[in-house]
């Protein structure tokens, strides 16, 4: 689903605005039942984010964070999210979403320690979301 809407948060030009709905199921290793844990003694939280990456005529590389979540040590390790809408507007810098078949969604996370280094990890595996060739005129989302 894609609309062409004026980007009211940025420069006053019409840019492509993408709407993506997604499901996420994740099992965060937390040491229970003999599993390894990503939450070792020095991990305070995970900053999880879903980002879309794609190429357009205007820009060789575009990355847009669609959604993020903070997972604290001790939170429920099983994440089942269905029919999620993106938290942030998926505006392109121009009209590069129209007909773009190569938009990939990847889940990544920033491990935040109690003290020390801040590594960024990208999940293996990604999903492709091809955008249609036409704009949607309806108002509902």
């Amino acid at each position: 689903l894609r609309k062409n809407v004026e980007d009211f948060t940025g420069p006053r030009e019409r840019s492509d605005l993408g709407f993506v709905t997604f499901d996420i199921t994740a099992d965060i290793l937390n040491g229970k039942n003999g599993l390894r844990t990503i939450f070792d003694w020095n991990v305070k939280q995970l900053f999880l984010y879903l980002s879309a990456e794609y190429s357009t005529k205007n820009n060789a590389l575009n990355q847009v964070v669609l959604w993020d979540k903070i997972i604290l040590r001790g939170d429920n390790p099983r994440l089942v999210l269905k029919d999620m809408k993106s938290k942030y507007f998926f505006f392109d810098d121009g009209n590069g979403l129209k007909g773009n078949r190569n938009v990939t969604l990847t889940l990544s996370w920033n491990v935040v320690p109690n003290a020390g280094i801040l590594p960024l990890v990208t999940g293996s595996g990604h999903v492709s979301v091809p955008f249609p060739d036409t704009y949607e005129m309806t108002k509902s989302y």
Partner: protein, 130 residues
């Protein structure tokens, strides 16, 4: 870099010490925590990269947001400025040491430590009253 504000909580808190690197060749990618300066302002801001648009030749414009903020940083940028560029970046956060935070954590996780600290504080007060 000493951390002042609460806009990156719960990852970083006031008083935390951040370690930065500043390799200009390092590509800027979403999810990274960058330290940037807005033209005309002295105090640098440490927030996460939310969006990037990079051209073939490496020219990049990007948007940032504090983890703890509801909206992105556009409202913080200069009037008329919609994006940040490489030249605005002062460094990238690679690690940190919590400042006073570590004492609170230890007190939470180890009650004996908390009692020891309280006891010592009590002694300190008593001794200094004399």
């Amino acid at each position: 870099l000493l951390f002042f504000s609460g806009s990156m909580e719960p990852a970083f808190h006031r008083g935390d010490l951040l370690f930065l690197t500043n390799q200009i060749e390092d590509p800027i990618r979403v999810g990274e925590i960058v330290v940037f300066r807005i033209e005309g302002r002295e105090i640098p801001i440490v927030h996460r990269v939310l969006k990037i648009h990079e051209k073939q030749n490496g020219d990049i414009k990007f948007l940032t947001k504090g983890d703890n903020n509801a909206v992105d940083d556009r409202g913080l940028y200069k009037r008329g400025q919609h994006w940040l560029e490489k030249k605005d970046v002062v460094g990238r956060a690679r690690g940190f040491v919590p400042y006073i935070g570590i004492v609170t954590i230890l007190m939470n996780d180890y009650p004996k430590f908390k009692y020891a600290v309280l006891f010592l504080l009590g002694l300190f007060v008593l001794v200094h009253r004399e």
